[in-house]
């Protein structure tokens, strides 16, 4: 262990020398990292905003519970208490069938104007329920549907839920894409570093000849990969930082309609930049680890 720390300055020196000495190949590895990180950044911006959109839409979600004919010995108040016992309910609001009809008449007098309040009213008394989180909507709705005295509990319009599942798919697709992209970058970097290491496979053999352990040989290459990752992250970081700020200003903070409010610039871009830098370093380290491990096996 002491041996390890004592050798660190030497490793750093030889890593920097490595990048400088093989500047042409290092440059192509750096470009590979840059391209990957830029695409990664685009997808993170996209998915970040999609998440935000979905959250906005979902927070508008309310469960519509139409009440069946009341059971004997039960009134609205006691049904409300029973419903309130379900986990995940934030608020519950009663609206009589006459209130419901009045709302519809206001929205669309041409169609609903013909209906009368009172006994001829086709509407039902309802509860309008808000859940504590969008995720619990489904389970709460299900539990409500199983309760006695409830005709039907439902949420959202079809359009909205289609949109949400579309967003979900886009987000998952983006995630898969980003992971695939990172693997590709690891492969590219590993290949590029393999080329720089190939030229040094004799050197690696000699190092082992004079007693350098595999880790001792690996470390400068891994640090070199880390440098490549950091250098490759510079351009994507700058583009992300200024690009998103610019986009936000141009779009005035929303996408198409005010229903899609964009993620605020800060701390969103900081988070993305941090992730990009981390990914760059990680990808560089893994790539060079793989490359050097291959050539370590080259000779005994």
């Amino acid at each position: 262990m002491i041996e390890f720390f004592r050798s660190l300055p030497v490793h750093f020196k030889s890593a920097i020398q490595g990048v400088l000495r093989h500047s042409a190949t290092a440059f192509s590895a750096i470009s590979a990292v840059s391209v990957t990180l830029i695409l990664m950044s685009l997808f993170m911006i996209l998915t970040g905003n999609i998440t935000k959109f979905t959250r906005n839409i979902e927070s508008d979600f309310k469960i519509h519970v139409s009440i069946d004919a009341l059971q004997e010995g039960e009134d609205i108040a006691s049904l409300e208490t029973k419903i309130n016992a379900i986990q995940g309910i934030k608020s519950i609001e009663y609206s009589s069938k006459d209130d419901e009809l009045r709302k519809l008449k206001e929205e669309n007098p041409a169609i609903f104007g013909m209906y009368e309040e009172g006994d001829a009213n086709p509407m039902r008394d309802v509860f309008i329920i808000e859940t504590t989180s969008p995720e619990s909507i489904e389970s709460v709705t299900q539990q409500l549907n199983e309760m006695e005295g409830i005709k039907k509990a439902e949420y959202g319009g079809d359009g909205v839920s289609v949109m949400i599942s579309f967003f979900e798919a886009l987000r998952n697709g983006g995630l898969v894409f980003v992971i695939a992209l990172s693997l590709l970058a690891v492969f590219l970097i590993s290949n590029t570093i393999k080329m720089t290491i190939y030229a040094r496979s004799t050197e690696i053999g000699i190092m082992r000849n004079v007693g350098a352990t595999n880790w001792y040989v690996r470390i400068p290459f891994i640090i070199e990969g880390m440098f490549i990752g950091i250098l490759g992250a510079i351009l994507p970081l700058i583009l992300t930082y200024f690009g998103y700020g610019y986009l936000y200003d141009v779009m005035d903070g929303k996408f198409l309609s005010s229903m899609f409010v964009m993620e605020e610039v800060y701390p969103f871009v900081f988070d993305i930049c941090l992730i990009l830098l981390g990914c760059g370093i990680l990808v560089g380290m893994i790539g060079s680890f793989m490359a050097v491990s291959k050539y370590l096996r080259w000779k005994r």
Binding site: S7, E203, M207, N209
Partner: protein
Amino acid sequence: MILLENVSKSFKNGVHALRDVNLYIEEGEFVYIIGPTGSGKSTLIKLLDGELVPTRGRVVVADTDVGKLRHSKVPLYRRNIGVVFQDFRLLPELTVFENIAFALQVIGLDKVTIRRRVREILELVSLEDKAKSFPRELSGGQQQRATIGRAIANRPRVLIADEPTGNLDPEKSQEIMALLEKINIEQNTTILMVTHDSNLVDMNKKRTIALEEGYIVADIQKGGYIHHD
């Protein structure tokens, strides 16, 4: 210190470089390995160094079964032995000083100790004025001495040298021989030295083992070069 038991080595191309070699070398011995070109001398060195694994038999150096070492353990084993390679194997991007220092760095010595020891070594192999030169800027004989310096730097218990005087004139050869004998006596280092140099073997008589087509054909305690017709 060094034990070979029924050791054979053949290569994929069908060449049998060593055939059923049995050999025991005691701690503190100084032994020559002689033989014509292609007789398996370097192969023997590579088996001792762990670079090659015997096809059959056992190679034991300093209580280590060298052929059975795991790949990752081979460098650790090498810290106990010094090897002078026929093809030098100096790191091309490092100066002579750095090359010798590297062998000491990897075993974790501190800077001050390393610097002191490298100076000492450079003086022993008379390369003080070449400390800052890169291997490509040296003559064959100078590179050879740098390699010898690196091999002895960490005072190994066993020194294995493949033609350490191959590129040196008789005067320099004698100097190196004197150095190796000094290490052999003062540090009780076991030395195994491959050589083609009949004059050197005749002048500094020691146990001499002759290889021919992979067989040990002679093992003479009092030495002297075996001449072929």
